[in-house]
Symmetry: C2
Subunit: 375 residues, 2 copies
């Protein structure tokens, strides 16, 4: 296909980042076409695939076949599924595999999986030989609409999430929408939270469309592909404006500061809370906090909560099962979060649906009091 999305059920989003420009191909059957799409774009003929134990049995053989057909020699590494794989040990394992396979600068690392695999493999691609090529094949909705696009990579440390990483743009993103059929409803909904986020940042019309069409997006079909393409385009637009997050890109963190703190509070235990669920609660909290600061109407927060709740997502702290640490510990997690400048807290707040903005001087005392009320 050579980089063109020529079928009616396919979409192509181009990310125009100069010499780091790349395509996102969205549609069913992309994994089976990976070899051709990669050889059309890269000179190297070796690849190191990183995947996890859940995704491997579903798609690895298909991907290896496609690569082999197009003359790419590939090795693979299967890691445990879950957030804890995004660690210094995981990074050492991936980079060691790449070096043993003699992956050179023109060769590729392929991330086959969700956001954890993409973030980890992308970080490894960014540091082996100070940077090799990188292909994202996201198999979750969350990864397709968010983490696979934009070049942020990273791992977690005992101090917090994503505190180590690099900016390393992919050379190609293949979003195989057929792969989403294997997701559990819970996983799909978690990704859907990030789709909603794009509406809430600056696309009120898209949010309205989602309120009407969400059941079709969940069921599959053209509305799903449309929602993914709009989301990828929205993310690409922000990334092109501010690749290294010195300003506007921070808007993509809507719901994430609260969300990350809640993930930390549940020790990144995905049986209790997955990232998208943290973001769902975080977005509602961001809207409620904005209302509390008299920036937005409480009705907007209610409307966001109503939509996420209808979809089946958690919308308040009490929706998280099990006990949580004291509020002050949530605050510590927020302060350690990387969106901090000279001690002041940076938050994404809103003036209403689709009217988010970056506030970089939110007093910690206000946040603490608000969180105590919300528990």
């Amino acid at each position: 296909m050579n980089g063109t999305a020529s079928r009616a059920d396919e979409r192509l989003v181009h990310v125009p980042l100069g010499e780091r420009a790349y395509d996102i191909l969205i549609g069913p059957g992309m994994i089976a076409r990976a070899g051709g799409e990669i050889t059309a774009r890269l000179k190297g003929r070796r690849a190191a695939i990183v995947t996890d134990e859940h995704v491997e049995p579903l798609y690895l053989a298909q991907l290896m076949d496609s690569l082999q057909t197009d003359g790419i020699e590939a090795v693979s590494l299967t890691l445990p599924a879950g957030e804890k794989t995004k660690s210094m040990d995981g990074l050492a394992a991936v980079t060691d595999m790449m070096l043993a396979a003699r992956i050179e600068r023109g060769d590729a690392v392929i991330a086959l999986g969700g956001g954890v695999i993409g973030d980890l493999a992308g970080f490894a691609a960014g540091i082996v030989r100070r940077g090799v090529r990188f292909i994202q094949i996201p198999t979750t909705l969350l990864a397709q609409v968010d983490s696979s696009v934009g070049g942020k990579t990273g791992i977690n440390t005992r101090h917090g999430k994503n505190l180590l990483g690099v900016f390393h743009q992919p050379d190609l993103v293949l979003a195989d929408t057929a792969a989403l059929d294997s997701l559990s409803p819970r996983e799909f909904r978690a990704g859907y939270a990030e789709v909603v986020k794009y509406g809430l940042i600056d696309k009120p019309t898209f949010f309205h469309w989602l309120e009407k069409n969400w059941t079709k997006v969940l069921e599959g079909g053209p509305e799903r592909i449309e929602a993914i393409a709009i989301s990828c385009q929205a993310k690409a637009d922000v990334v092109v404006e501010d690749e290294r997050e010195t300003g506007r890109r921070a808007l993509l963190n809507l719901g994430h500061t609260f969300g990350h703190a809640l993930e930390a509070a549940t020790d990144f235990d995905s049986s209790r809370l997955v990232h998208g669920e943290g973001v769902a609660i975080g977005m509602v909290l961001a809207h409620r906090f904005s209302a509390r600061l008299n920036l937005a109407s409480p009705d907007d927060a209610q409307r966001v909560a109503a939509h996420l709740s209808a979809v089946g997502l958690p919308t308040k702290i009490a929706d998280i099962e099990g006990s949580l640490p004291p509020t002050q510990m949530l605050m510590d997690a927020i302060a350690q979060d990387k969106k901090v400048k000279s001690g002041k807290l940076t938050f994404i707040l809103t003036r209403g649906i689709g009217q988010s903005f970056v506030a970089d001087d939110v007093p910690a005392s206000e946040v603490l009091r608000f969180l105590e009320e919300m528990r």
Copy 2:
């Protein structure tokens, strides 16, 4: 002083890399002035100093005093001296220290030491929060004329040297030439090999100047500062032309492919061979190999060997004490070196003194035969 080298015994080299531009200040007393030079350039008021057990007792207190005087809150981490510190464990230790100290994007990591500390601290600065500010205070001649300039950072792995790293330019380099007085003659000579390298790459006049003035460079005084400034300017010129080593920058590897292989062959044991000594032997080998390929006159190789030998540097493989592994193992180290493209060996060869060039299709069989002759 606010970034100006106003005294007669100081030099300023500017590296014009657009938004990544920075100054190199060269002269005595720079450590004592660090606080003022840093606050003149950076907004952040926190710093994490990385040093080693040899440098700490000599300069850490002086640096901390200077930072404190100018209102910078600093923490420090002292690591074992030597190449083995450039490891995944070393990286984890530095990044953990930085995160514990809540170093933010506008704050700085300060590398106080030689190339090992600079490469390691720079890598950490490049990945914590996807990049924080970075100050180089090189205390060895090698680091002042080579590793502290240009943004290459990295660590070693069991597969070879510097195979993991990022490009992360410093925001300021303070080359305190008084610090060089504490170097052993062996350490100073090792750094001198890199000074000679700039002459051999493309500055025959500088090489001639060194042949005449090398005793004064070793003794100290204005010739030493001059040699360092010319070297920094030479490196800056190459880096500005090719920041990410896609072409011309590879010239800086003159002598390094052979040199790295010899370092690997001695298991990076600095009692047997330090980096600059490997480069000295490597440069002579590169000239001899070029003569062997009928590219240059054997007289040039002899002249390079004569100068390095006069200075007290090793110039042939037999100068390394102890036994070395079979030649095939040297070849394996060369093949794993990152200057490899699609299986062909890339070497820096020369047509004579100051006439180096990048050759990217050197047959491995020729290299193997040559190395066997040279043992």
